[in-house]
Structure formats: structure tokens, C-alpha cells
């Protein structure tokens, strides 16, 4: 069972990483994460929006209404300077964690 802290950490990392490439609205953001992780990470609507609003409160992302080419209004999220600042240590921490886990599993199988 993955703890809620780890789940939240991976979810935040996923959102920040995807938004690094440019602004996206909620549905597209969830779709990109699912695609880029080959379905390993999937966000339902119920999980996505409370997290986006929390990250917005923390000022890591900023949402604003935009009208798409087909005339639809969508709330697009973009990375703020604080979010960019948060992303690099987060990426490093997770990379270190996965490296450590990999070393551990390799040692266990050796």
C-alpha cells in the first residue's frame, strides 16, 4: 500500500513536470500524464481538482480562463516561478529515492 504522502508527492511531481512544457487545462493535463506514463499514473476528476486547487493555493501553479480554438472556455494551468523552483528539488529527491530503491532491490536479488 503506497502511503498518501508518497502518492501526493508523485502526483505533484507529475503535474509540475507536465506543466513545464506549457499551460494545460485539467482534462488535457490528466490525459498527458496518463499518456506519458503509459497509463501508470491516472488521475480521475475527483483526484485531480482538489490537488490542482491545493497547488494553486501554494502558488506553484496559476489557473486562468482561456477560450480555445473551438470557442470553448477552459481553465488553463501554468507553472509559476515558485512552481519552477519547487520542481527541481522535487525531481532530484524522487530520482534519489528511486535510485536507492533500485540499489536495494538489486542487492536483494544478488
Amino acid at each position: 500500500m503506497i502511503g498518501s504522502g508518497i502518492k501526493r508527492g508523485t502526483a505533484e511531481l507529475a503535474v509540475l513536470s507536465v506543466l513545464q512544457d506549457g499551460p494545460l487545462h485539467g482534462y488535457e493535463l490528466a490525459r498527458r500524464i496518463e499518456q506519458q506514463t503509459n497509463g501508470a499514473l491516472r488521475f480521475t476528476l475527483a483526484a485531480l481538482y482538489p490537488m490542482l486547487y491545493r497547488m494553486e493555493q501554494q502558488r506553484w501553479i496559476r489557473g486562468s480562463w482561456e477560450t480555445s480554438a473551438n470557442g470553448r472556455k477552459r481553465r488553463c494551468y501554468r507553472l509559476t516561478p515558485a512552481g519552477k523552483k519547487k520542481l527541481s528539488p522535487l525531481q532530484r529527491e524522487w530520482a534519489e529515492l528511486f535510485d536507492a530503491l533500485q540499489r536495494l532491490t538489486k542487492a536483494a536479488h544478488a
Binding site: 482534462y27 476528476l45 481538482y49 482538489p50 486547487y53 491545493r54 501554494q58 496559476r62 472556455k73
Partner: protein, 238 residues
């Protein structure tokens, strides 16, 4: 064509946010459901099944409503508490302490009225200055949209902090004396000290600060509503 906006409006009707913010959340969630539904239709899923699958993303609407509320309001509550209570309260405390230190340097001494166990400490110049700080605390809290209760708390904050320190120090003093084997004060001595120090350092300054705070509230309620200033800051988003 499914009316997603109406559906979401009904399911998230109890979302306790301001009207504009609530409408934004409902529109955003509805747009997400609509896109999910349309994507499923494009994949060849039948309409009833697409509706069902889009809706299956939310198993408990009440829980979603609660989690959205917490996410939207957590930072907001903390920010409000800081501006409405902590900043005005600590400013009142700092100014009260600075005034007391200045008066002591200027040679104003504490006056003891009465003698023996019934003696009460009076620091008249300090007590005379405190209503201004009480009023300032109430004014700053009011500017940040504080309720009447928060304004009162902000104005009497110095005595609350002092009372907290008193409550903490008395048991520590008793424990320390007990450990080092010194004679622990009898209940009568402790009660007399509480009465004397409590009256001189808590009750009288508290009344003085409260008088200033209430006067400030009264003056503010006569002027143009300070709540308008606060509402503007409440709707500011990240």
C-alpha cells in the same frame, strides 16, 4: 447532448464557496466531464455508456465537495487568521511592552495600592496608554475583515499572551522548587500572588486594552464599512 453544467451544479450545490468561485469550480468540473464523455464517444462507446463512464470518475460527490472546499480554503483560512489576529495581536503586544520599557526608563514606577496580601499593583501611565494599542489592534483586525470577536481578541492579545505565560510558569516554578527541595509555597501564598499579579498585570491592562478595542470598534462601525476592504482581499487568487 448531455447537460453537464446542470448536473454538476446539482451535485456540487452544497459547495461552501463564494458564488463566483463556486460557479468557476462547477464550470471547470462540468467541462472536464464533457471532454471525457466526448472522448469516449469518439472511441466508439455508446452514449449511455459514455455518460456512465464519465460519471464514474466521481464515486462520492459529497467527498469531492469537501475536498475541494478544504483545498480552496486551507491557505485562505491561514492567511485570514494571520492578518486578522496574529499580526494585529503581536503588534499590540510589542507596542505594550515597548511602552512599559520606555516608562520604566523614564522613571515611572509601579504603584502598590494597599498592603500585605491585599496589595494590588497599579502602573497608571502604562494603563493609560494601553487603550490606544487596544484600539489599534481592533482597527488593524477590522481592516483585514476580522469579526467582532477577532477584533476583541486582537486588542486584548497582550494579556492573553501574559496569562499564557503565567499559567505555564506557575506549575514550572512549583515543579522546580519540588525538585531542588526548596519549600513549595502554600496555596495561600500562590493565591495571593495570582490575585496581586493577576490584577495588576492581567485584569487591569486587559480592561484597559478592551476599553480601547471596544471604543475602536464603535468608531469603526460609525465610519464607512471596513468589510469592503476585506472582501476585496478575500477574492484574490493565487
Amino acid at each position: 447532448m448531455h447537460n453537464w453544467e446542470e448536473l454538476v451544479r446539482q451535485r456540487l450545490a452544497g459547495l461552501d464557496l463564494d458564488a463566483a468561485e463556486k460557479e468557476e469550480v462547477q464550470a471547470e468540473v462540468a467541462a472536464h466531464l464533457e471532454e471525457s464523455y466526448e472522448a469516449l464517444l469518439k472511441e466508439g462507446v455508446t452514449e449511455p455508456a459514455a455518460v456512465q463512464r464519465a460519471l464514474s470518475q466521481v464515486t462520492n460527490w459529497r467527498d469531492l465537495q469537501r475536498r475541494i472546499f478544504i483545498a480552496k480554503r486551507k491557505g485562505h483560512f491561514m492567511k485570514k487568521r494571520v492578518y486578522q489576529l496574529w499580526i494585529p495581536g503581536f503588534l499590540t503586544l510589542i507596542l505594550s511592552v515597548v511602552l512599559q520599557m520606555m516608562l520604566q526608563r523614564l522613571g515611572f514606577r509601579v504603584r502598590i495600592v494597599g498592603s500585605g496580601p491585599n496589595a494590588i499593583l497599579f502602573y497608571v501611565p502604562w494603563l493609560a496608554g494601553l487603550p490606544f494599542f487596544g484600539a489599534l489592534g481592533a482597527y488593524l483586525s477590522s481592516r483585514a475583515g476580522g469579526s467582532r470577536g477577532t477584533m476583541v481578541l486582537a486588542s486584548v492579545f497582550p494579556v492573553l499572551a501574559l496569562a499564557g505565560a503565567f499559567l505555564l510558569l506557575f506549575p514550572i516554578d512549583v515543579v522546580v522548587k519540588w525538585i531542588i527541595g526548596s519549600k513549595v509555597d502554600s496555596f495561600a501564598i500562590v493565591a495571593t500572588t495570582i490575585l496581586r499579579d493577576g490584577t495588576g498585570w492581567l485584569l487591569l491592562p486587559g480592561a484597559s486594552l478592551l476599553a480601547g478595542g471596544l471604543l475602536g470598534q464603535l468608531l469603526l462601525s460609525r465610519g464607512p464599512s471596513s468589510q469592503h476592504t476585506a472582501i476585496g482581499s478575500e477574492t484574490t487568487h493565487a
